[in-house]
Subunit: 109 residues, 2 copies
DNA sequence: AATAATACCTAGATAGTCAAGGTATCAAGG
DNA sequence: CCTTGATACCTTGACTATCTAGGTATTATT
Protein backbone atom coordinates (compact mmCIF):
# COMPACT_ATOMS: atom_id res chain seq x y z
CA UNK A 1 0.00 0.00 0.00
CA UNK A 2 1.20 3.50 -0.66
CA UNK A 3 -1.29 4.43 2.01
CA UNK A 4 0.05 4.12 5.53
CA UNK A 5 -0.28 0.49 6.36
CA UNK A 6 -2.35 1.01 9.44
CA UNK A 7 -5.16 2.83 7.68
CA UNK A 8 -5.60 -0.18 5.47
CA UNK A 9 -5.94 -2.69 8.25
CA UNK A 10 -9.18 -4.54 8.10
CA UNK A 11 -10.26 -3.41 4.65
CA UNK A 12 -8.14 -5.75 2.55
CA UNK A 13 -10.39 -8.76 3.00
CA UNK A 14 -13.33 -6.69 1.83
CA UNK A 15 -11.43 -5.47 -1.21
CA UNK A 16 -10.55 -9.02 -2.18
CA UNK A 17 -14.14 -10.19 -1.81
CA UNK A 18 -15.29 -7.20 -3.82
CA UNK A 19 -13.15 -7.86 -6.88
CA UNK A 20 -14.09 -11.54 -6.76
CA UNK A 21 -17.78 -10.65 -6.72
CA UNK A 22 -17.33 -9.44 -10.29
CA UNK A 23 -15.82 -12.73 -11.46
CA UNK A 24 -13.38 -15.49 -10.55
CA UNK A 25 -9.74 -14.49 -10.38
CA UNK A 26 -6.38 -15.89 -9.32
CA UNK A 27 -4.18 -14.28 -6.72
CA UNK A 28 -1.77 -12.42 -8.89
CA UNK A 29 -4.64 -10.95 -10.89
CA UNK A 30 -6.45 -9.84 -7.74
CA UNK A 31 -3.47 -7.70 -6.80
CA UNK A 32 -3.42 -6.13 -10.27
CA UNK A 33 -7.16 -5.55 -10.25
CA UNK A 34 -7.12 -3.79 -6.88
CA UNK A 35 -4.22 -1.64 -8.06
CA UNK A 36 -6.04 -0.74 -11.28
CA UNK A 37 -9.40 0.02 -9.71
CA UNK A 38 -7.79 2.21 -7.06
CA UNK A 39 -5.70 4.12 -9.61
CA UNK A 40 -2.60 2.58 -8.06
CA UNK A 41 -3.29 3.97 -4.62
CA UNK A 42 -3.31 0.39 -3.37
CA UNK A 43 -0.55 -2.05 -4.21
CA UNK A 44 -1.33 -5.00 -2.03
CA UNK A 45 1.65 -7.00 -0.93
CA UNK A 46 1.62 -10.68 -1.87
CA UNK A 47 2.58 -11.51 1.67
CA UNK A 48 -0.67 -9.83 2.64
CA UNK A 49 -2.85 -11.31 -0.09
CA UNK A 50 -2.16 -15.02 0.18
CA UNK A 51 -2.85 -15.33 3.91
CA UNK A 52 -6.08 -13.39 3.32
CA UNK A 53 -7.14 -15.73 0.51
CA UNK A 54 -6.42 -18.79 2.65
CA UNK A 55 -8.28 -17.33 5.56
CA UNK A 56 -11.31 -16.37 3.45
CA UNK A 57 -11.35 -19.86 1.98
CA UNK A 58 -11.17 -21.42 5.42
CA UNK A 59 -14.14 -19.31 6.52
CA UNK A 60 -16.12 -20.59 3.54
CA UNK A 61 -16.30 -17.20 1.82
CA UNK A 62 -14.25 -18.42 -1.13
CA UNK A 63 -13.71 -21.65 -3.05
CA UNK A 64 -10.50 -22.39 -4.93
CA UNK A 65 -9.83 -24.43 -8.05
CA UNK A 66 -6.74 -24.94 -10.16
CA UNK A 67 -6.65 -24.08 -13.84
CA UNK A 68 -3.85 -25.66 -15.77
CA UNK A 69 -4.23 -25.18 -19.54
CA UNK A 70 -1.47 -25.68 -22.06
CA UNK A 71 1.11 -22.94 -22.50
CA UNK A 72 0.05 -21.39 -19.26
CA UNK A 73 1.30 -21.31 -15.73
CA UNK A 74 -0.80 -23.11 -13.15
CA UNK A 75 -3.25 -20.67 -11.66
CA UNK A 76 -5.33 -21.01 -8.54
CA UNK A 77 -8.67 -19.37 -9.15
CA UNK A 78 -10.99 -18.20 -6.40
CA UNK A 79 -14.75 -18.05 -6.59
CA UNK A 80 -16.89 -16.19 -4.06
CA UNK A 81 -19.54 -18.28 -2.30
CA UNK A 82 -23.03 -17.27 -1.25
CA UNK A 83 -21.73 -16.96 2.28
CA UNK A 84 -18.95 -14.75 0.93
CA UNK A 85 -21.44 -12.46 -0.79
CA UNK A 86 -23.35 -12.02 2.42
CA UNK A 87 -20.15 -11.31 4.30
CA UNK A 88 -19.15 -8.75 1.68
CA UNK A 89 -22.51 -7.02 1.98
CA UNK A 90 -22.08 -6.86 5.75
CA UNK A 91 -18.56 -5.48 5.43
CA UNK A 92 -19.70 -2.85 2.95
CA UNK A 93 -22.35 -1.72 5.41
CA UNK A 94 -19.73 -1.57 8.12
CA UNK A 95 -17.40 0.37 5.87
CA UNK A 96 -20.09 2.98 5.21
CA UNK A 97 -20.76 3.30 8.88
CA UNK A 98 -17.08 3.59 9.67
CA UNK A 99 -16.18 6.10 6.98
CA UNK A 100 -19.21 8.25 7.75
CA UNK A 101 -18.26 8.28 11.41
CA UNK A 102 -14.69 9.29 10.59
CA UNK A 103 -15.89 12.15 8.41
CA UNK A 104 -18.25 13.31 11.13
CA UNK A 105 -15.39 13.50 13.59
CA UNK A 106 -13.26 15.28 11.00
CA UNK A 107 -16.08 17.78 10.54
CA UNK A 108 -16.79 16.91 6.91
CA UNK A 109 -20.41 15.99 7.63
CA UNK B 1 -15.10 0.71 18.85
CA UNK B 2 -18.31 -0.91 17.77
CA UNK B 3 -16.66 -1.01 14.39
CA UNK B 4 -14.39 -3.99 13.86
CA UNK B 5 -11.15 -3.06 15.45
CA UNK B 6 -9.06 -3.59 12.37
CA UNK B 7 -10.94 -1.09 10.27
CA UNK B 8 -10.12 1.52 12.86
CA UNK B 9 -6.39 0.90 12.88
CA UNK B 10 -4.46 3.94 11.95
CA UNK B 11 -7.29 6.44 12.08
CA UNK B 12 -7.45 6.96 15.82
CA UNK B 13 -4.47 9.29 15.97
CA UNK B 14 -6.08 11.46 13.32
CA UNK B 15 -9.37 11.54 15.21
CA UNK B 16 -7.62 12.64 18.38
CA UNK B 17 -5.74 15.41 16.57
CA UNK B 18 -8.96 16.47 14.93
CA UNK B 19 -10.96 16.99 18.11
CA UNK B 20 -8.01 18.82 19.67
CA UNK B 21 -7.83 21.16 16.71
CA UNK B 22 -11.11 22.62 17.89
CA UNK B 23 -9.82 23.29 21.39
CA UNK B 24 -7.79 21.89 24.26
CA UNK B 25 -9.20 18.83 25.95
CA UNK B 26 -8.24 16.22 28.52
CA UNK B 27 -8.20 12.50 27.78
CA UNK B 28 -11.51 11.48 29.22
CA UNK B 29 -13.24 14.28 27.34
CA UNK B 30 -11.58 13.33 24.06
CA UNK B 31 -13.17 9.89 24.29
CA UNK B 32 -16.59 11.45 24.94
CA UNK B 33 -16.16 13.96 22.14
CA UNK B 34 -15.24 11.31 19.58
CA UNK B 35 -18.21 9.23 20.70
CA UNK B 36 -20.55 12.20 20.42
CA UNK B 37 -19.33 13.43 17.05
CA UNK B 38 -19.54 9.94 15.58
CA UNK B 39 -23.06 9.35 16.94
CA UNK B 40 -21.62 6.67 19.20
CA UNK B 41 -20.22 4.62 16.35
CA UNK B 42 -16.80 5.05 17.95
CA UNK B 43 -16.23 4.35 21.60
CA UNK B 44 -12.49 4.55 21.92
CA UNK B 45 -10.95 2.35 24.57
CA UNK B 46 -8.92 4.18 27.21
CA UNK B 47 -6.21 1.59 26.74
CA UNK B 48 -6.09 2.82 23.17
CA UNK B 49 -6.31 6.53 23.86
CA UNK B 50 -3.59 7.06 26.42
CA UNK B 51 -0.78 5.42 24.46
CA UNK B 52 -1.86 7.50 21.46
CA UNK B 53 -1.76 10.73 23.46
CA UNK B 54 1.69 9.90 24.84
CA UNK B 55 2.95 9.02 21.40
CA UNK B 56 1.53 12.18 19.80
CA UNK B 57 3.10 14.24 22.56
CA UNK B 58 6.45 12.50 22.06
CA UNK B 59 6.28 13.31 18.35
CA UNK B 60 5.70 16.97 19.18
CA UNK B 61 2.16 17.05 17.79
CA UNK B 62 0.68 17.76 21.21
CA UNK B 63 1.64 19.58 24.40
CA UNK B 64 0.23 18.65 27.79
CA UNK B 65 -0.48 20.71 30.89
CA UNK B 66 -2.19 19.93 34.17
CA UNK B 67 -5.22 21.81 35.39
CA UNK B 68 -5.94 21.47 39.07
CA UNK B 69 -8.65 23.85 40.26
CA UNK B 70 -10.54 23.55 43.53
CA UNK B 71 -13.38 21.07 43.75
CA UNK B 72 -12.17 19.38 40.61
CA UNK B 73 -10.22 16.29 39.74
CA UNK B 74 -6.78 16.82 38.29
CA UNK B 75 -7.04 16.93 34.53
CA UNK B 76 -4.28 16.64 31.97
CA UNK B 77 -5.12 18.88 29.06
CA UNK B 78 -3.66 18.52 25.60
CA UNK B 79 -3.04 21.31 23.12
CA UNK B 80 -2.26 20.72 19.46
CA UNK B 81 0.98 22.25 18.19
CA UNK B 82 1.69 23.80 14.83
CA UNK B 83 3.50 20.61 13.89
CA UNK B 84 0.40 18.71 14.95
CA UNK B 85 -1.83 20.82 12.73
CA UNK B 86 0.37 20.11 9.76
CA UNK B 87 0.37 16.41 10.56
CA UNK B 88 -3.40 16.45 10.85
CA UNK B 89 -3.73 18.13 7.47
CA UNK B 90 -1.48 15.49 5.94
CA UNK B 91 -3.47 12.68 7.53
CA UNK B 92 -6.73 14.15 6.32
CA UNK B 93 -5.37 14.20 2.80
CA UNK B 94 -4.28 10.62 3.17
CA UNK B 95 -7.68 9.66 4.54
CA UNK B 96 -9.40 11.18 1.51
CA UNK B 97 -7.08 9.32 -0.80
CA UNK B 98 -7.59 6.08 1.06
CA UNK B 99 -11.37 6.24 1.36
CA UNK B 100 -11.77 7.27 -2.27
CA UNK B 101 -9.60 4.34 -3.34
CA UNK B 102 -11.65 1.93 -1.24
CA UNK B 103 -14.86 3.20 -2.78
CA UNK B 104 -13.42 2.88 -6.26
CA UNK B 105 -12.58 -0.76 -5.61
CA UNK B 106 -16.04 -1.31 -4.13
CA UNK B 107 -17.52 0.20 -7.28
CA UNK B 108 -19.12 3.19 -5.57
CA UNK B 109 -17.20 5.68 -7.70
C1' DA C 1 22.05 -16.02 -21.40
C1' DA C 2 20.16 -12.78 -18.44
C1' DT C 3 16.44 -10.27 -16.86
C1' DA C 4 11.66 -9.11 -15.94
C1' DA C 5 7.22 -10.58 -15.30
C1' DT C 6 4.23 -14.04 -13.82
C1' DA C 7 2.57 -17.11 -10.09
C1' DC C 8 2.44 -19.57 -5.99
C1' DC C 9 3.85 -19.54 -1.03
C1' DT C 10 5.87 -18.94 4.17
C1' DA C 11 8.27 -17.00 8.38
C1' DG C 12 9.45 -13.50 11.55
C1' DA C 13 8.97 -8.77 12.94
C1' DT C 14 6.21 -4.75 13.67
C1' DA C 15 2.57 -2.08 15.41
C1' DG C 16 -2.20 -0.59 16.69
C1' DT C 17 -5.89 -2.09 19.36
C1' DC C 18 -8.22 -4.59 23.00
C1' DA C 19 -9.41 -6.65 27.44
C1' DA C 20 -8.50 -6.38 31.88
C1' DG C 21 -6.68 -4.57 35.43
C1' DG C 22 -4.93 -0.73 38.87
C1' DT C 23 -5.44 3.85 41.49
C1' DA C 24 -8.08 7.69 43.11
C1' DT C 25 -11.81 11.31 43.61
C1' DC C 26 -16.54 12.82 43.67
C1' DA C 27 -21.75 12.65 43.53
C1' DA C 28 -25.97 10.34 44.33
C1' DG C 29 -29.01 6.95 46.41
C1' DG C 30 -30.31 3.80 49.90
C1' DC D 1 -22.45 5.68 56.32
C1' DC D 2 -21.73 2.88 52.54
C1' DT D 3 -22.11 1.37 48.03
C1' DT D 4 -22.40 2.33 43.27
C1' DG D 5 -21.47 4.78 39.13
C1' DA D 6 -19.15 8.31 36.87
C1' DT D 7 -14.97 10.70 36.32
C1' DA D 8 -9.91 10.63 35.41
C1' DC D 9 -5.42 9.00 35.01
C1' DC D 10 -2.58 4.93 33.66
C1' DT D 11 -0.13 0.01 32.34
C1' DT D 12 0.38 -4.81 30.94
C1' DG D 13 -0.13 -8.81 28.05
C1' DA D 14 -2.44 -10.79 24.21
C1' DC D 15 -4.20 -10.56 19.66
C1' DT D 16 -3.98 -9.95 14.81
C1' DA D 17 -3.42 -7.68 10.24
C1' DT D 18 0.13 -6.22 7.67
C1' DC D 19 4.91 -5.80 6.11
C1' DT D 20 9.54 -7.12 4.84
C1' DA D 21 12.08 -10.48 3.14
C1' DG D 22 12.69 -14.51 1.59
C1' DG D 23 11.78 -19.04 -1.26
C1' DT D 24 10.43 -21.76 -5.69
C1' DA D 25 9.29 -22.15 -10.48
C1' DT D 26 7.73 -20.93 -15.24
C1' DT D 27 7.40 -17.96 -19.27
C1' DA D 28 8.49 -13.97 -22.21
C1' DT D 29 11.63 -10.51 -23.60
C1' DT D 30 15.97 -8.59 -24.72
Amino acid sequence: MRISKELAKGSNGMLVLSVLEKGDKYGYLIVKEIANLSDNVFSMNEGTLYPILHSLEKEGYLEAYWVEAENMRKRKYYRITEKGRKELAAQKTEWKSYSTAVEKVLGYV
